[in-house]
Amino acid sequence: MNLTSPASAVYWTLIALTITASPHLMAMPPWLGGLFLVMVAWRWLAASRSWSAPPTALRLFISLILLILVFVASGGHWSRRAATTLLCMMMAAKLMEMFQPRDLRLVAALCFFMMTAQFLFNERLVYLFYLGLGAWTATMALVSIQRLESTPLQQPDRPWQGKLIDQSRQAAGMLVLALPVAALLFVLFPRLAQPLWGLPQQSMDGRTGLSDELTAGSIANLFLDDRPAFRVEFPDGQPPPVDARYWRGPVLTELDGSTWRRSQFADASSPLPEARVGSEFEHRIQLEPHERRWLFALDHPRSGPEDSRLTTTRELLARNPITALTQYDAWSVNAPFGPQTLPASARAYYLALPEGRNPRTRDFANELRQSFPDDDAGLAAHVLEWFREEPFRYSLATAPLGRHNADEFLFDLRDGYCEYYASAFAILMRAANIPSRVVLGYMGGDWQEGGQYLLVRQSDAHAWTELWIDDAGWVRVDPTAAVSPERIDYGARGAIREPRHALDNEWLRNLRNRLDRAQHTWNRWILGFDAARQQRMLERLGLPRGTHTTLAVIMVIALALVTLALALLLWRRDRQPPRSAAERAWRMLLSRLGRRGMVKKPGETPREFAHRIQTDLAAGNNEFRQLAELYSRVHYGPPHAELAQDFIDTARRFKP
């Protein structure tokens, strides 16, 4: 395979197509992705063996088959994924008639569109590398197509012209030229306050997050998942103390058999609590998409962003499921809401237990009730003490529990993850006539010193309980804290020492934190650059605050200016291409020295330059003068291939 031969235009187009289509391929069914690759491989073979295009009837037939397969794969359900799958397969079909430069150019240009399509699904930082690689290969393809077309005009006295390195440099250079324009478009392109594709969609590609049910193992499974759940910044740059880092999510109030569920009516909003107790925390959260409507916030949330609401159980809910990275401000208070009354109906609701289950727990609750006839708080404290004294263990064990789940756990198993404790404790409390509910959310988070933000991962998922104590209201009680204080102080990963998977070690964790900081910066400055920030930036620049039309006019003017500047730059830089490999090596040497402040003046000969910078180079470094002498002989003397190669090698090794 020769990547500079005439067939190289086809090769490069196929490389670009495969790279730009790769994320789409990974998201489609494997057999369909495989089919795409087969088409690419066939086209590659056709290029290397100089096969001709298949007959029109066959092409039509295969295209039709592909169309049907896409329909089958999508299950008739029209979605963004189905659309990009169709795009990929039709590109594969296009390969069958890609035998003219015109078609090659079309495919190469569509590669850019393929990359844009990927950003409908994911805008994470890693895709910047995908974008760079894809744009470069697609440009390489366009450059080789251009060369293919201008082959007869190629000048024979420039033998280096076909070299791969020059081609790649040309492609990279073109992309670099496009960067200022891209930056300008990013900053000035009129932004919509609402996302363009606001439809609720499966954007997590089958990944799981926190659910609104609690069964055995539903949180322990998340323990293995180190993906970020959300990141939090604090206005004063200081995170709350470790034992206050409870991030409230869904609140489960109904026990259905052995599964805790959220109430169907929980979405009703409630008026803000009037009394402000304790101190208020303001924080800004960047929430990764999780397909649900919860906006996590520090316990207890008091108010959230504009279009969110607080439910009766103090959940912060967004209007629509979170399908894209979302940033919002929230305010929380660090004390339970002020004393309220619990209506009798609500009290009954929070005491409801399924009939005929957990007899031992009920007996134990009655015993406790007799010891603490009127003291709910004392009873709860006694149970926590009991947890501490009895041989309870905090671990990842996820034994399935039977019909009497609380009985089995409290008296037999005594080994489990937070969901076991929260569930069993809430059942015990209800049996003891104390209204209780289970709260899901996250506990803890890693403070990222470098980025000044708190990173909360899926593995920080946690479950705790809330008890109704008269005169105090809903009080948070975390039974896991009683069993394993380390869970609170060091997080779940600190409390359970056993390695979670093969790649779980210190070094990788550090690397991951580092990468997350980069991702955080990206989220904050690139993805977080929305319509409001755009307006603020323009105001700061003294530009008129205005409509999209004003913005568009500013953008067009700025683009024209940048294009003009680039054109001038190109015109100024329009110098002779190097005559030989030696001259290229010399120019590279000069640019290396130039970066260290040693710039050759135009009217200086190589020897004069070497003589002048002699003092700037390391002491006793005669090497560059010898190099300049050698170059003079190679460049100005009679042709001498060995000498030229000698110079190139020495120049490459030279360290200024």
Binding site: E583, K601, P602, G603, R633, H635, Y636, G637, P638
Partner: protein
């Protein structure tokens, strides 16, 4: 040294040239670049114009050059009553066989020192300049070739303008190089004052070369390799003189040819096996300054303009 000069004969010629150069440098103190210019003009087959005040060593230089070259030499002191025949020679009627006999003038020599050339009338000047250009002299319809090599060193006093006829711009072109000598440095001047008269040095000098060797050297120098980048550079320099705002008339194509020839000669003299851009840069001022016509209103001297061109023209 390149393989091209491997034959021992060429080697011998070359070392003879270096000896000659050393000899002249021994007489003309502290002015190696002027001596180089003189040898460069010689090797390029051209002529040298020295423009300077009296008493700085113009004549001594010319004399030393002529001795070391080994040929015969003539000195002509130009005056305003001189006629062309005083330069080129005259046909005399011979009574014995009733025929005309050509009496060659002082121009018939390998080295001619034309002192204070601007004192002669333009008519006389042009007689010499024609001889320099053609390498031959025509008297009464008869053509007489000049001896080879033929090397003219002319001097001109730039200050003493009363009763002089400065060479017209078009004629200056006949001189390949124009240079100044300038005063010696303090230390060298002291040496000059304490050591015996320079003329005793001249008396001691031995010829190092002979006309045939010089011709061979000129031939060798003219075959020196000039690479594409250097040709590009020469073209860029010439183009710069033509497009410069302060220059009325830039360098002619003939000047371009002269520049290549001179640069080759300079590189050859300095033992380079090829023509490097340094040689072009060195000879360019001497070659271009007297050929350029500067816009008087620009307020710039030709030397300043040339320096500017040399610093701004990129070396490929």
């Amino acid at each position: 040294m390149s393989e091209a000069r491997a034959p021992t004969l060429a080697q011998d010629h070359f070392s003879a040239l270096q000896n000659a150069r050393a000899e002249v440098n021994r007489v003309i103190v502290d002015k190696p670049e002027v001596v180089d210019f003189a040898f460069t003009a010689l090797l390029a087959g051209g002529h040298l114009l020295i423009e300077d005040l009296p008493g700085v060593g113009k004549t001594t230089l010319a004399h030393a050059m002529s001795i070391t070259l080994g040929g015969n030499w003539q000195r002509v002191q130009f005056t305003n009553d001189m006629l062309p025949a005083d330069i080129v020679g005259v046909s005399v009627f011979k009574r014995d066989d009733s025929s005309f006999e050509f009496r060659p003038g002082p121009v018939f020599a390998n080295v001619v020192l034309a002192d204070e050339i601007n004192r002669a009338t333009p008519r006389t000047q042009s007689a010499l300049l024609e001889a320099m250009a053609e390498g031959q002299v025509t008297v009464d319809g008869q053509t007489h070739p000049l001896p080879q090599p033929f090397f003219v060193i002319a001097t001109q006093n730039p200050l003493d303008l009363a009763g002089t006829y400065p060479l017209p711009d078009s004629q200056l072109d006949r001189f390949l190089l124009r240079t100044r000598i300038g005063y010696p440095s303090a230390a060298e001047e002291r040496r000059l004052l304490t050591e015996p008269d320079r003329r005793t040095f001249l008396a001691d000098m031995q010829p190092c070369l002979d006309p045939d060797t010089v011709l061979a050297l000129i031939d060798q120098a003219s075959r020196l390799h000039v690479s594409e980048p250097v040709l590009d550079y020469i073209q860029a320099l010439i183009a710069a003189t033509r497009s410069h705002a302060a220059i009325r008339v830039g360098l002619s194509p003939r000047a371009g040819l002269a520049l290549i020839r001179t640069a080759r000669a300079h590189a050859f003299l300095n033992q380079d096996s090829f023509c490097a851009p340094e040689s072009v840069k060195t000879v360019f001022p001497g070659l271009a300054a007297h050929r350029l016509q500067v816009q008087p209103e620009s307020g710039l001297g030709s030397q300043e303009i040339i320096d500017e061109i040399l610093t701004s023209t990129a070396i490929p």
